[in-house]
Structures are given as structure tokens and as C-alpha cells.
Amino acid sequence: MKKWLSLSLDIALLAALVAAPLYLSAYHLSLLGRFLAMAILSLGLCLVWGWSGILSLGQGVFWGLGAYILAMHLKLAALAPGDMPDFMMWSGLDHLPGWWTIFRHPAVALLGVLIVPTIAAAGLAWLVFNRRVSGVHFALITQALALAFATLLVSEQAYTGGFNGLTDFTTLFGRYIVDPSFQRSLYWITVVALTAAYLFCRWISHTNFGKILLAIRDGESRTRFLGYNPAGYKMIAFAIGGAFAGISGALYVLHVGVISPAMVGVVPSIEMVVAVAVGGRDSFIGVILGTLLVNFGKDWISSAMPEMWQFGIGLLFILVVTLLPKGLAGIPELRGQIAARFRRSAGAPALEAQTLAITQKN
């Protein structure tokens, strides 16, 4: 019954996404596209946080790596051969640095989008988890990472475009980005990528790997005493999260046509976590819906009443975390729990349980 329900929900959602160009305006479709790109990152966070219990407050870093690498490619593609981006000339550079030029080739750029965030995530995870640093400490370290990454991007203006970031893209693989047909294919590509990411997560959840992640989340040292090394599992999970973030960032750049440090720092990184918390941290479909909901909500509120957005998201965060730790996806379960509590408080069974406990002790 439950399986059937979740499957039909999946199919309904997919159908709604596929049919979206039919019922959404171009503006809203473009919003939907970029939020679906964000949902890929959320799926990664779901694995990392919901399944492995690792709270990352620096997911913006891996997202930003993917975004900046593709943006570098786009920037180079917009230039005549031999030219340099304007901000480099203003900063007095006389030639393109080597680590820029390699991304001129589309294949290298795509590979970079995939590999750089993955390796960065894996490297950090390896260093930290091997020393058994986790939980709150890890969250704080990733937050410091997000801060350092954003400051570095701002300060190294000659190489990163500084505060303004990278923008003014024209073509990708020879096609004009502003072209409506390109935007439409971009939407489809995003939907396909999200679906693939979703199926990947579903597959992971059925493997032994997925079960061991849950085991580590619930009892890290217990799992270690069963002969598993949690650091290795957590590193792989975190690397997957990094890869998803990188892909998400690259797609996002294509949707919005700009990337800047303000989009990757501490606050955006936390907002990524909010979306996942709202949807339900350990539900794959939940985090996709949560991401759409929070981002559309943000778009709506911050255009209507900009001041209210921060109050709103702050309050939302407090309420969801305290009252709905499993997010929106946890609501059906919640009803069952409340019902169970009522049944229990209705009398005899509680007493029975108590006597049972006493007899067991003796």
C-alpha cells in the first residue's frame, strides 16, 4: 500500500514536471528550472544529512565550485580567441592563468564540474572523518569553509571577478543561451538530471551501503564495532553530496546567467539546508518538494515584502526543526503517532507495559 502510494506520487510529480511547459509562463518555467537544479543539491544533502547524519553548512562551496567552473567555460566561450575577461584586464593581469584556459574545452569543463567538487568534498571528509570529528564540529567547520570560500572569491578579484562574480555569457557548445529553444532544452536537461539523481538515490537506499549509512547515523560507534569503518562510508556519502552540488551549481548558472560570491557563502549554504529540513531531511521526494516550496516562497515573499523574508525563513526554520523534525514528508507519520498516543493514553495498555517492565527486571 505504502509502496504503491509513493510510486504514484513519484509518477505524478514527474508528469507535472514534464507537462510544466504547457501550463507555466516562460518566467515561471525559468524559475522552476533553476529550483529543480537546486533540488539536485538537496538530494545530495538528503543523503549526507538525512541518511548519514552529517550536517553540512558549507554545501554552497561545492555548488559554487561546479558553478564557477562552468561559468569560467562560458566566459571563455564568450571571448574571441586571445582575449581576456574584462575584470582581468582591469586588475592588470597580462595573460590568462593556466587553470582558466584548460576549461576552454567543453569536455574539460564538464569533467571539471563533476570531478572538482567531488574531490574537494571527499578530501575534506577524509581529513575530518578519519579523525572522528563529526556532528556539531563538522557543521561548524563546513560553515567556516563557506565563509572562507566566499571571502576568497571576493578578494581574488583578478581571477574570480570579485564581488560581481562572472556573468555576460553568450553561448554554450555553440548555442545561444538566451535563445528560447536553448532555455527549453535546458529545462529538459534539468528535469532529466534531477530524475537521474533521484533514481540514483533510490538505488542507494536499497543497497547495503544505504543501510550502513542509516546504521552509522543511528549508532556510529555501534557500527564501528560491527567491523565497519564509518569514515569511509561517510566520505563516500559526502563525496556524492559534493558531486550533486557541483552539477546543481553548473545547471543553476546556465539558468540564471550569473554566479557571484554572494550566492555561495554562509547564508545561501544555510538556506539550502532549510529547504531540505522543510521537505523532510530523509525523504528524497520530500526534499525535492521542499526545495520547490521554499524557493518559490522566497521568490514570492521577497518580491512582495522583502523585509519579511528573513523573518519568515527564520520562523519557518525554528518551527520545522522543533515541531516537524521530519519535515513535510513526516506529516503522514505524525498523524499515526498522534493517534497512537491517544490510544495509549486511553488507559490499560500503559499499565500493562509497566508491569511487563517490572517483571522483566526481576
Binding site: 543497497t207 543501510k211 542509516l214 564495532f225
Partner: protein, 252 residues
């Protein structure tokens, strides 16, 4: 002569200057049972902690199957064939009973080898046997978090058993069990001792008697006496250590 499966050699462990183990030694032969008793704070749990790598000794060493395992990582020690049941129930709450056992039983525990979906047939068979013996067959699909305390205790024992480790460390396996259940546990341990070695901590003398195995008494982080339960109970030193603290020994 047969060489011991496990040798704890002159191990000292200190916490903030206090020696929880103080020159402790113990030898355990393959396929044997040893019961560890001693007053509270004697260092029994710390000994198990040291064997499994949870606590690093200041001096001395632990040798398992002829190999020094003193400084190995916990998970590496476990992979060499030691498994431990802790005092507090440590089942994995959000996994089914079956998955709990599967994870304990899987021989391939490296992260990169865990991307399969199924469970190997010999693992499955072993888990099946454990489900049978622990009476958890009907509960196989329930989440471990939904089990009663007693069932969790059985599951925990089942996990240790299904690991198929050569040495099983059990910290108070019969705690919180009814008389019947603890008798069953003792029987399970005895029947498995043809293939495995056990080091069991328990206070319950009825249970210890049912195990019918040599007893080691620890006191102040050291080995006080080793012998049969009968010898131990008559030993004046043991009696003086226990007197007024744990009347079970004196009474039994």
C-alpha cells in the same frame, strides 16, 4: 600444546591517573567459555574495551591469533574476528531486525564493496539460523526500535552471534532477562562454544552456574583468582572482596 586464541598481557589502563586496569593478564583458548566476575569498578568492562580497541592501554599488549592487536583500529580488530555486545542495548533502531543481523553477518565490510543490493546466500543462511534461535523470526521485518527491551537484548546477542567471530565478548548478556530467558541464553552460548570462544561478564550467579565454565575474578584492575565456580566461591580472598557488596556469591 595449543596456543591461546587471546592473550591479554600485563595491561594497564589509566583514566586521569586512576588505573582502571593495573597489570591485568588473561589467556583464553579457542572454543572455550570464560566468565568474568568481580565487584563494581573491578575493571571488567574496561578489559573488554581494551580488547576491542575502545580504550588504549598505557602499557602491556593484547595478542589475538598470535597477532598484536593492541594499537589497531576498532573496526580492524572486529574484522580479525572479535565481536562485542555492550551493556547498553546498541541495536540499530531504524533498520529492520533482519537488516541488523545482515549487517552484523556480512563478511565484506569495506565501504567500496557495499554497493550490492542482495545478501550472500551463506550470510542469509546464518542469519536465518540466528533468527530461529533467538525467537525473532516473526519480528524479522519490524524495525529494531519497535522491539521490547527483552527482544532488543536477544537481537543484540543475535548480532554478535551472527558475526561468526571467533571470539565473542558479552557484557551482561542476561541483564533484564527472565529466569527462563537467561537459561536459554546460557544454553545458546554453550552450544555455540564448539566453534567460538566466549568471554562473558555477568553478576547473576545462577546464569554463571548454567554456563558451567571456568571463572576469573577481577579486583582493582587485576586478576584475583581463576578456577571453577565452586573453587571461587570457597576462596577466602574472593569472599573478603565480595563480602557485603555482592551477596549473590556468598549466598550461592
Amino acid at each position: 600444546m595449543q596456543s591461546p586464541l587471546l592473550s591479554v598481557e600485563n595491561v594497564t589502563v589509566s583514566f586521569d591517573g586512576f588505573n582502571a586496569l593495573d597489570g591485568m593478564s588473561l589467556h583464553l583458548m579457542p572454543t572455550s567459555i570464560r566468565v568474568l566476575i568481580g565487584p563494581n569498578g573491578a575493571g571488567k568492562s574496561t578489559l573488554l574495551d581494551t580488547i576491542i580497541g575502545n580504550v588504549r592501554p598505557a602499557s602491556g599488549r593484547v595478542v589475538f591469533k598470535g597477532e598484536d592487536i593492541t594499537d589497531l583500529n576498532e573496526y580492524k580488530i572486529v574484522r580479525r574476528g572479535i565481536c562485542r555486545k555492550f551493556q547498553a542495548p546498541g541495536t540499530l533502531e531504524n533498520l529492520s531486525v533482519e537488516d541488523n543481523l545482515n549487517l552484523a553477518a556480512r563478511p565484506r565490510r569495506e565501504s567500496w564493496r557495499s554497493f550490492g543490493v542482495g545478501i550472500a546466500s551463506q550470510v542469509r543462511a546464518r542469519v536465518e539460523r540466528v533468527l530461529e534461535r533467538t525467537g525473532l523470526k516473526e519480528k524479522r521485518k519490524s524495525l529494531a526500535g519497535q522491539l521490547s527491551h527483552g527482544q532488543k537484548q536477544w537481537l543484540e546477542i543475535g548480532m554478535v552471534v551472527s558475526s561468526d567471530a571467533d571470539l565473542l565478548l558479552l557484557d551482561e548478556p542476561a541483564a533484564g532477562m527472565s529466569l527462563d530467558e537467561s537459561a536459554q541464553t546460557a544454553e545458546l552460548i554453550r552450544s555455540l562454544s564448539s566453534d567460538h570462544s566466549f568471554l562473558v561478564i555477568d553478576h547473576d550467579m545462577t546464569f554463571v552456574e548454567q554456563l558451567d565454565a571456568p571463572v576469573s575474578v577481577m579486583h582493582m584492575g587485576r586478576m584475583l583468582k581463576e578456577g571453577s565456580l565452586n573453587e571461587i566461591q570457597r576462596d577466602p580472598q574472593v569472599i573478603s572482596v565480595y563480602l557485603g557488596r555482592e551477596k549473590e556469591v556468598a549466598v550461592a
